[in-house]
């Protein structure tokens, strides 16, 4: 279908990567976004890129080291991560994770306290040890999102911002147009990668996509001296040292929300910043004096099993739906590739992604959110 029109609903990292992959294949792409590219979770996350739980993992790992060159714009990608244990229980858990990686042939190394401090000078001697992942890494979400958008434009793709999608036109079992308040965009295929708004959009096509939205929070400090290894996780928080030196960290309790078709009404942060600060000061005690200069929140959606939904529907059969279930940034080089394959070839060329089919939720109980306790606070 080279040369045809694909409309992508949602200019987050998943939709933009898909658009870039499609444009690379010579497809005419239009990305519609309700506001500005990467404005929601795609620009608010921790930037991690080490998702060994995913069928997209190998492709993620293959692509990240090449992304700056492929896109033509810097993503700030850095390789490697370290997991630092701050309690005996965490040390047991992290060694369990290390054993698992070894079993799966993901290169890891156990570090003693001294080795941890060499890699992460802001760590203290209060840790139990660390696990150095010789794979994975992290990048700057905001810069990466813009890099996808610009690279897509450089290949002739269009990005229409400030244009929420209001509905679809259908004919003959296909979507033939995507509507915004001001225009209808004719299309041969559609990718719906609109995050928490996917259920509302897909309901218009008579397709039930079970997703629940929640809010999560992060904090960031002023810059610290650059550490040899900036991708530091552990103590049940995740984050990274930016290339500027700031420590950006998240984790902890989330709050389930109802999100309507317009997207999150607001993204307020809460005093959870204090609990993040406590854990970061414990994880990196030599950073405890650093000023926290911002906190923020983002809204992400999860599927009932927490795994992505990447699927080309049977009806309408020219629609690909893509939700990364709250873990989308790092996998984006690979998710975009998979979506491209589904749109053009009807199947993923590099991995079996049957696990991510929407049909796994056929027959899901109506009260699946209530059963999981994933309901907004009344």
């Amino acid at each position: 279908m080279s040369g045809s029109d694909v409309v992508i609903v949602g200019g987050g990292v998943t939709g933009l990567s898909a658009g870039w992959w499609l444009a690379k294949s010579g497809v005419k792409v239009t990305v519609l976004d309700k506001f500005i590219v990467g404005w929601e979770a795609s620009g608010r996350n921790g930037g991690g890129a080490s998702h060994y739980s995913s069928p997209l993992f190998e492709e993620e790992q293959r692509l990240w080291p090449q992304m700056d060159e492929l896109l033509g714009y810097p993503t700030e990608h850095q390789k490697g991560r370290i997991l630092i244990a701050m309690t005996e229980r965490q040390w047991d858990q992290y060694r369990f994770i290390a054993e698992r990686h070894t079993r799966l042939n993901h290169p890891v190394e156990l570090l003693d306290v001294k080795q941890v401090q060499e890699a992460v000078p802001l760590a203290g001697d209060n840790c139990f040890g660390g696990v150095h992942y010789k794979f994975g890494g992290h990048a700057n979400p905001q810069r990466t999102v813009q890099a996808y958008a610009w690279a897509l434009q450089d290949l002739g793709g269009k990005i229409i911002q400030h244009s929420p999608v209001t509905g679809f036109e259908t004919a003959g079992g296909k979507v033939t147009g995507v509507k915004t308040a001001n225009a209808t965009y004719g299309c041969d295929a559609v990718v719906v990668a609109a995050g928490p708004q996917i259920p509302q959009l897909m309901a218009q096509l008579g397709v039930d996509v079970p997703l629940a939205a929640a809010r999560a929070e992060m904090i960031i400090t002023e810059p610290a001296p650059m550490m040899p290894l900036g991708g530091v996780d552990g103590h049940k928080i995740y984050g990274r040292q930016t290339l500027r030196g700031n420590l950006a960290y998240g984790g902890g309790p989330h709050e389930w929300l109802d999100v309507d078709a317009n997207g999150p009404a607001a993204r307020p942060s809460t005093p959870l910043a204090r609990n993040l600060a406590k854990r970061l000061a414990e994880l990196l005690p030599k950073a405890a004096h650093l000023n926290v200069i911002r906190s923020w929140a983002g809204v992400i959606e999860n599927s009932p099993d927490g795994r992505p939904i990447i699927d080309r529907l049977n009806s309408p059969d020219n629609v690909v739906v893509a939700s990364m279930s709250s873990v989308g940034f790092g996998l984006s080089p690979a998710s975009g590739h998979a979506i491209r394959d589904l749109v053009i070839d009807g199947a993923c060329s590099f991995s079996n992604i049957d696990l991510l089919k929407l049909s796994r939720f056929d027959g899901l109980e109506k009260d699946w959110r209530e059963k999981r306790g994933w309901m907004p606070i009344a």
């Binding site: 500005i36 620009g43 739980s53 069928p55 700056d68 033509g72 714009y73 810097p74 858990q93 369990f96 994770i97 698992r100 905001q142 810069r143 813009q146 610009w150 450089d154 929640a214 809010r215 002023e222 928080i237 995740y238 290339l243 500027r244 984790g251 309790p253 989330h254 709050e255 999150p264 009404a265 607001a266 307020p268 942060s269 809460t270 005093p271 959870l272 204090r274 609990n275 600060a277 406590k278 405890a288 004096h289 650093l290 000023n291 926290v292 200069i293 911002r294 906190s295 929140a297 999860n302 099993d305 927490g306 709250s326 873990v327 209530e370 059963k371 999981r372 306790g373 994933w374 606070i377």
Partner: protein, 487 residues
Amino acid sequence: MDLNFTGIDVCAVNGTRSAPEAKYDLVVIGAGPSGITAAIEGAASGASVLLVDENPVSGALMGNDTPLYFGGRMTAATQNKDRMLEAIFMSMPDLEKAMEAGVELLLGTTAWGVYRNGPGVQSLPEQVVGLADAERSWLVGFDRIVLATGARDLAIAFPGWNQPGVMGAAALQMLLSRYGAFSGRRIVVLGTHDLALETALLALEHGLDVAALVEVRDAPQGDAALLEKITAAGIPTYYGQSIAASKGGLDGIESITLTDGTNIACDTVCVAIGLVPSIELVDAMHGPRALNAARGGYIPAGEPNVTAVGLCAGLPDTGFDHVAYRMDWVRAALRVNAPDTIICQCEEVTLADLIGIQPPNYLPRPAALQARSLGTLLDDGPANPDQIKRLTRSGMGVCQGRRCRDQVAMMLAIESDKPFGTIPLATHRAPVRPLPLKILAEWDEPAGMDAAWDVWFGIPTQWVPVEDIGTPYQDEHREMLYTGMYT
């Protein structure tokens, strides 16, 4: 994996938050004249009242131009907290009255966030204000809050403005009137509106040399009687001018050159072009606000239980269009400033990189990136300061954008040929003052917090490696790494 749901997500925030340490009928933020009055009135009506003020702030914060634009012109006296406290009481006799009226007073205490339930958050047990002193942070509940946070200095870049001795009018007034801790001797004042005239006269009263007033417009802008005093004092005023160049040394600024070539020796340049109402807390709490050019910028729009008073509610409305006046200064700055003039001091973002939407110097600039600019970004939609921040890092530093956010917004308006009011306000986020991790940390958090804490959502199937699905490793994984959501 057999999943038996309990109906409860133990990793959700529900019920894990700590209660505030104390609760007051009224919390007043800012112990200036308006805040003190509000606190005394509240106490007189029988309310329990807490009055907090961040001053005296630490020397380190003052050095980062927080909360005002001090420009490194503080004397060593500002390192002595006891002396500073005494100075505050000396300069604010009504503080004693407030305490006599039953107001609880906390100086050296920062209000760094206000939190309440609303769109996107319903998990807060009650509305709280986050406070911090030099030792710790804590939360305080309230029924009503009065924001008397004053106004902060507007900074506008000129060549060499990123050196000691370039400061704001509110900072200079505070150092002179309250602390007697200003280290400069010879001052050039930018502006001729009332703020500039009052500041120049105050400097004269304190025996300082006022070398000149510089006005970008062709005529004086402020009150005629004040201007007369300036003239009577023999202070030269230059109209239709801005600073084209400056010279400095180790101690900071030594002289400036105006656009007409006039050279003026000085050790301090006081940017007295305008004050911006300090609405950080309002914005960070998603409170309503409105642009009011006659009152100095964005001001709180008011809510039933959130009241702004004093300069926080807006500068006195004299009919003067502050925004138009500031825009004239920024237009002149855009004409005069060289491309390598630093606009964001914290992140060292130059004018060229700001307008070029280029990344910081530690990143490569491939050809495709160099071809991008504010112009190409504007083709995709209206300018948004938060997007510019993400790309250039302007406003992302430890001064939290206090020195550059306003001028960057004005530059975006000018460069995109749009009215200032169409440019969104760059967001303010808690903590609205830089707070060390160890101070912000809730060290004595409730046990429920750690029990609910997972690195992500605590969904056991989310992180099981694909290879392990359907194998015994899957259950081992759940047993080892997860608790609670499923039985």
